[in-house]
């Protein structure tokens, strides 16, 4: 468990703290940072605004790691990284990024991340809570062939929603041409930034890595657009939950494998049994076997039958059984679905859609039904 000091002045602030404060944010401690959880309009409004217009998120607390091959050939960095993830990194073209998982020897997940091929280096964006351990881990395994750098002098923002393209194109017209998961070096207000067409809300949009000394000016320019509103971590969580996206530490961790977490789609054919570079990553024996035969438990979407949100807790087969069969790993109210939504783990024989199980909320058994993970269908520009 992470060390918690509770001392306010131990918390780090991102380079956008003053802007958050001016906009009236309420702050919470998150992964060692003082982060905005919501702005005066509230989570419900922020969530819907992102789905209908454009939301601006400060995700500067996440780790941005540059992996630069000593040989100068980015394939050498890709080959080295493939020893740590079950993904195809070698065939990831320059200017593209892909979702990846760092796995351990048991097939558990150390972290989830985005890996981008910048042409001469890889950029890995990792979760805030894991970034120091991830960096140490990557450094240990990649430093023989690569230089690693944590980009402490770059902020990271996300502009998400159906108006994101129009707004960012006002600063840089060429972002219109980018497809989902494209990565480009883009000049914004004369500042060289890294832009990817991606995000973690289920919406089309962009993530933008910006040198800290220029991030306030660029954020102000984006906020000048009437379509754009600042969005806090509260709505970020309800947006990703509706889209069926995992929160590391809640919906997956070292005790869950990629197959159990329903993330098989992220493992390309060439790393699977019979593929040209099958295996060769930590936990490959466990993960490849599960890819072929399935796992005993699996992450599913869970839709409560009543309006009472189910935020966590144990799952049972019926209203009276004392035998726990599964766990709700995250849940809450889905403002766009206008109904509570949740996700969790169940034994594989209980994962068929419409299967009825019971969650326990405040001592009461609440009926929930298994559903596909995506309560809200993503609108990515593929």
């Amino acid at each position: 468990m992470a060390h918690q000091s509770g001392m306010e002045n131990d918390l780090r602030k991102t380079s956008l703290f003053a802007i958050h404060q001016r906009l009236g944010a309420s702050f919470v401690p998150f992964a060692g940072y003082e982060m905005p959880v919501q702005f005066p309009n509230g989570i419900m409004h922020e969530h819907k605004h992102t789905r209908t217009s454009a939301g601006l998120f400060d995700v500067s607390h996440m780790g941005q790691i540059i992996v630069r091959p000593k040989s100068g050939a980015v394939q050498d960095a890709a080959t080295a990284l493939e020893a740590l993830v079950p993904m195809d990194i070698l065939d990831l073209p320059a200017g593209r990024q892909r979702y990846a998982l760092l796995t351990n020897q048991d097939g558990g997940i150390l972290d989830d991340c985005m890996v981008a091929n910048l042409g001469d280096a890889l950029m890995i964006v990792v979760n805030a809570a894991c970034k120091q351990t991830d960096f140490q881990y990557l450094h240990t395994h990649l430093s023989p062939s690569c230089h690693l750098e944590m980009l402490e002098d770059h902020a990271l923002i996300a502009l998400q929603g159906p108006k994101a393209e129009k707004v960012l194109a006002a600063l840089a017209p060429k972002v219109v041409e980018m497809r989902f998961m494209d990565v480009r070096a883009v000049s914004l207000l004369g500042v060289q930034c890294h832009v990817s067409r991606s995000g973690y809300t289920g919406e089309d949009g962009y993530e933008i890595s910006i040198p800290v000394q220029h991030v306030e000016a660029i954020v102000e320019a984006l906020l000048d657009h009437s379509e754009v509103a600042a969005i806090g971590l509260g709505a970020r969580d309800s947006l990703r939950l509706e889209a069926g996206l995992c929160l590391y530490g809640s919906d997956m961790d070292t005790n869950t494998t990629p197959v159990e977490a329903a993330l098989e789609w992220s493992i390309q054919k060439c790393r699977r049994t019979g593929g040209s570079r099958a295996g060769g990553f930590p936990g490959a024996d466990v993960i490849l076997k599960q890819l072929d035969n399935g796992a005993a438990k699996r992450r599913v979407g869970l839709r409560p039958e009543t309006r009472m949100p189910v935020r966590g807790g144990s799952l049972y087969a019926d209203e009276s059984s004392t035998v726990q069969i599964g766990t709700v790993t995250s849940g809450g109210f889905g403002p766009s679905v206008d109904w509570p939504v949740a996700m969790g783990y169940l034994p594989i024989d209980l994962t068929a859609p419409k299967t009825l199980v019971f969650a326990e909320v405040r001592g009461k058994r609440v009926p929930v039904r298994v559903e596909p993970l995506q309560f809200y269908l993503p609108t990515y520009k593929r």
């Binding site: 989570i43 949100p309 935020r311 809450g332 109210f333 509570p340």
Partner: protein
């Protein structure tokens, strides 16, 4: 007679020694738009400080405590369909439950409107 608690609840005490209870605008604002209100069963006997109602916003589930001893004699069923009435009209249509006071003198220990207003200013 209107009374308030430090937990940001209001009580409208009626002449028949019953009281209507809800949360204040200050509390509703802090919670954000409510998405669910878990109301007690009619007939439940409560002691001051018992958890009686759970109000849920996107952010979190929060307990509402019984401000006095008594028996629940009515709940606001409208909130099942429109929980956000607690936000839009916290002291009118957004009331939570009605209680039959079993120790009416407890009301005297609660704050009046002026004292409460000073607390949340």
């Amino acid at each position: 007679m209107l009374k308030f608690t430090e937990d940001h609840e209001w009580l409208r005490v009626h002449s028949d020694q019953s009281a209507t209870i809800g949360i204040t605008a200050y509390a509703a604002d802090k919670l954000g738009e409510l998405v669910f209100v878990d109301l007690p069963e009619i007939g439940r006997r409560v002691k001051k400080g018992d958890e009686v109602v759970v109000v849920e916003s996107c952010k979190a589930a929060s307990d509402v405590y019984a401000p006095v001893d008594g028996e629940v004699i009515a709940v606001n069923d409208e909130l099942t369909q429109s929980p956000n009435m607690v936000n839009t009209a916290p002291m009118e249509a957004g009331w939570l439950f009605k209680i039959k006071l079993s120790r009416p003198s407890q009301v005297d220990g609660l704050m009046d409107e002026k004292t409460y207003s000073a607390l949340v200013e």
